[in-house]
Symmetry: C2
Subunit: 238 residues, 2 copies
DNA sequence: CGCCGTATTGAGCGCTCTCAACGAGGGTGG
DNA sequence: CCACCCTCGTTGAGAGCGCTCAATACGGCG
C-alpha cells in the first residue's frame, strides 16, 4: 500500500506549477504590474509564439490550457509541458538573453495577461520578492527537468506514458476534484507527442492500460482508474 | 560548409558552463566568500554527495572533472552532466528547499571549494550581482535541459552519441587547445551512461564512427576528427 | 604471471517505428 | 438536413533498432 502522500511527493519531482504569484507582491509593485498588464485572448489551436522568436514579454495564463513544444526539422514534435491556469512564463529567455527555445499554442480557448519585456525588467529590478520567487521556481524546475531527462533516456513507452498520465492528471485537476481523478482531455496526437512516441504506439499502449484497468476512457477523454498501479508502473519511485 | 560560429551557437543550446563568477563579486562580498570557503580534495571515483541527501552547501570545482548522475532502482545509471573546472553547483536544491536530486562523483582527482549553506544564503541576501548571475544562469539552463529532453525523447543512439561527443569536446577542451580538438578521456561505461544506452551498443556505435572517420581513438581516449559531419549527424541544427 | 575490472564482438529476441488500410466523428457546403 | 470531406484515431503486419545474454579479449596492478 502506497500512501497518497508518497505519490504526491514523488510526482512533484516530475512536474511544476509556476512558483510565481503576482498577487503576493507588495502593493506598490503590484501597481506597476497592473498598470502595464494587457489582456490577450487566444483561440484554440492558435500559436502564441514560435521557437526562435524574440521574447517580447511575460505571459500569465488565466484560463485554458497551453502546450509548450519544439518542432524538429524532420517534422517530429516534442511537447515538453502543458500549462494550466496560473502559469507564468516567457521570462526565462528574457533573463538569459536568448531567443524562445520553444513554441506555444492553445489546446483550448485561453485568456492571458501580457506584460512587456521592459516593464517586467523594471518590476524585477524593484522587487526582491519577485526575484526570490524566480530563483526558487527556476531551481525547482531544474530538478524536474533533470528527472525527466532520466526518464526519457532510460524508460520505455509504458513507463513514460504512465508518468505522463499522472502528470496530466495534476494539470487537469479542477478545484472541485482536487482529490479525485481529472478528466484528461487531450488529443491522441498531442498525447503521443508528449510521451515521445508514435500515435500508433500510443493507441496500443492505451488499450493495454484499459485492459489492465489502469485507466478508463469516455469519448476522447481519459480518466485514471488505478492511481497506485499506474504510479508503480511509471517506476519513478525512489 | 557550416561555419564554426554556427556550430558553436547551436551547441550552446545543449550544454552550459556555470554562469556564476565568484571573482566578479564586489570586494566586500568577495570577503564574505573568502572567509568561509574551505578547500576539499576528492579522489578519483569518490562520491561527493548522493541523491536524496540534504544539501549542505555550495561547491566550486577548481580542477578535475565530476560526473552528475542519477541511480535508478533497477540499477541503471544516467549521467546528466559532466562538470569541468569553474563549475559552481549545489545551490539549486538549497534555493528550492529540496533534497539533492542527483549524485556527484569524481572522474579524476578533484580540488573543490566549499561554502556552507548558511554562508551562501547570507552572501546571496547581500549580493545583487550574485542573485542576477543565478537568474541568468538558471534561465539558460532551463533552455538547455528542455532541448536535451527533446533529443532524448526523439533521437536514436547515433544522434545522441554524436551530440554527446560534441558536448564532451567542449568540456574537455583545455586553454591550450581552445580551437582544436580535445582529448575526451572518459570510461566507456560512463560514456554509455551519458548517452543513455548499453555499453555494448556504445562500443558498436563507436566503431561505426571510426569507420566513417568521424572520430579517432588512442588508447581509451577519443578525439573528434570531423567536427562538421558529427554536428550534421547529431541533427540538432535548427 | 595471474587476476579483476573494463571493453569488444556475436547472436537472438523484443520493443518501437513505419507503412498502409480502414473507421469514426466533426465541420462545411450544397 | 444530408452527403461529403478531412482530420483524427485505430488496427494490422513487417522491418529495424537497441537490448540482453554470453563468450572472448585487453590492460593495469598486485
Amino acid at each position: 500500500m502506497i500512501s497518497k502522500e508518497r505519490i504526491k511527493r514523488a510526482l512533484n519531482r516530475f512536474h511544476f506549477y509556476s512558483g510565481i504569484r503576482i498577487d503576493s507582491l507588495p502593493e506598490n509593485e503590484l501597481e506597476i504590474f497592473n498598470k502595464h498588464a494587457k489582456k490577450i485572448n487566444l483561440k484554440k489551436k492558435k500559436v502564441l509564439f514560435r521557437q526562435g522568436s524574440y521574447p517580447n514579454g511575460v505571459y500569465i495564463l488565466k484560463s485554458g490550457k497551453l502546450k509548450v513544444y519544439q518542432l524538429n526539422y524532420d517534422g517530429s514534435i516534442q511537447i515538453l509541458f502543458i500549462y494550466a491556469a496560473g502559469e507564468v512564463f516567457g521570462y526565462r529567455p528574457i533573463l538569459s538573453n536568448e531567443y524562445q527555445p520553444v513554441s506555444i499554442a492553445a489546446l483550448e480557448d485561453c485568456e492571458l495577461l501580457f506584460i512587456e519585456r521592459k516593464f517586467f525588467l523594471e518590476l524585477l529590478q524593484k522587487s526582491l520578492t519577485l526575484s526570490n520567487q524566480l530563483l526558487v521556481s527556476l531551481s525547482h524546475e531544474f530538478t524536474v527537468l533533470t528527472n525527466r531527462i532520466n526518464v526519457f533516456a532510460q524508460r520505455g513507452i509504458k513507463e513514460r506514458f504512465a508518468l505522463a498520465l499522472l502528470i496530466l492528471n495534476e494539470k487537469y485537476k479542477s478545484e472541485s476534484d482536487m482529490d479525485g481523478f481529472a478528466e484528461i482531455k487531450l488529443a491522441r496526437t498531442d498525447l503521443s507527442n508528449f510521451v515521445g512516441t508514435s500515435l500508433e504506439n500510443l493507441s496500443r499502449t492505451l488499450n493495454y492500460f484499459k485492459e489492465k484497468r489502469l485507466i478508463r476512457t469516455k469519448g476522447k477523454s481519459i480518466f485514471i482508474e488505478h492511481f497506485e498501479n499506474l504510479f508503480i508502473l511509471s517506476a519513478i519511485d525512489s
